[in-house]
Amino acid sequence: MAALGSPARTLRGLLRELRYMNAATGRSYRDTAAYRYLVKAFRAHRVTSEKLCRAQHELHFQAATYLCLLRSVRKHVALHQEFHGKGERSVEESAGLVGLKLPQQPGGKGWEP
């Protein structure tokens, strides 16, 4: 029932996720340990003589799971930044919402040190 698709597709998705992750840092994504490991693993386990190889399916499943993990973490962080990342409004902004403005007090409030 597991609709995994082709291994090439999973590998492409994984490399894309790695690229997004390393886009912000200066380094290229090809230097990361994850890239080297993934490419080596996909190459090594590509060919097997058995027709219905459960181990190959297992490895592909693990790769697909990791891809899902990377993708969903990225989307989760993006959603968090967009909707929940703003924090509280400052006092000036809150006053501005209802059309009020805080008074200018160049000397500071009386009770502050």
Binding site: M1, A2, Q62, H84
Partner: protein, 262 residues
């Protein structure tokens, strides 16, 4: 009277575990002096303090190095994992943090820390029992003698099924069981977790089945991105991390090279 004051002061000092002596008291190195922060304040955000993340192999397994320092668990144990793929995945998690470290996105690291520290001190039986408890409230019927029920109390799980399940779960290692229990508590279903471990369901399918009711309501009433999608992605992330953790902790890789024979 001043003697009594001195006596009280010494007793107070002993309660606070401070050395008696004036301002020239010895500074204890490495002691945990409780700070005066609020009890419910969230932990201060840590900035990314390292440049490079790398992996080395030690005696117990694979270790993560942040620059030159070795990564440690919250209880200050050395962070070792048995599998290289897991170590690389954890290193990637640490590597993709920018500016501030968002611990809530580092699911694999959290799972490894829980397995290494075991802060709630649970043994295998307690973990298995906690996971099997979800069988009673499982809303997905898999057709293996679980039975279905239309009342609110849920089906009566025959003891035979429970025994089989318990003995099956007991065959996993402690680390794998932590992962299984984590996935079960995320998906709220034992059947779905077993399907995921057995490679029958992908993570997306399992999460979809777990949220069946919500998906139906979304199709009927519409999707709210900042709530539905947010929860969906978070659930997917946690479930994927748990499933990957279980697989990587309970596998062993052997490569046999066969020569082509003409």
């Amino acid at each position: 009277m001043w003697r009594r004051c001195l006596c009280l002061r010494d007793r107070w000092r002993r309660l606070l575990n401070q050395p008696s002596g004036g301002p020239t008291a010895i500074v204890r190195t490495g002691a945990n002096i409780p700070s005066l922060s609020r009890a419910y304040a969230p932990p201060a955000e840590r900035k990314r303090f390292y440049q490079n993340v790398s992996i080395t192999q030690g005696e117990g397994g694979f270790e993560i190095n942040l620059d030159h320092r070795k990564l440690k668990t919250p209880q200050a144990k050395l962070f070792t994992v048995p599998s290289e793929a897991l170590a690389i995945a954890v290193a990637t998690e640490w590597d993709c943090q920018q500016d501030t470290i968002k611990f809530y996105t580092m699911h694999l690291t959290t799972l490894c820390n829980t397995s290494l520290d075991n802060p709630t001190q649970r043994n295998k039986d307690q973990l298995i029992r906690a996971a099997v408890k979800f069988l009673d409230t499982d809303t997905i019927w898999y057709g293996v003698e679980i039975g279905s029920s239309t009342s609110i109390m849920g089906p009566n799980i025959p003891d035979r099924t429970r025994e089989v399940l318990v003995s099956h779960l007991a065959s996993y290692s402690m680390w794998a069981l932590q992962g299984i229990e984590f996935v079960v508590s995320q998906l709220k279903s034992m059947v779905l977790t077993l399907g995921l471990i057995d490679l029958r369901l992908t993570v997306e399918q399992a999460v979809l089945l777990s949220r069946l009711e919500e998906e139906y309501q979304i199709q009927k009433w519409g999707n709210v991105e900042w709530a539905h999608d947010y929860e969906l992605q978070e659930l997917r992330a946690r479930t994927a991390a748990g499933a990957l953790f279980v697989h990587l902790c309970s596998e062993s890789t052997t490569i046999r090279h066969k020569l082509l024979q003409d």
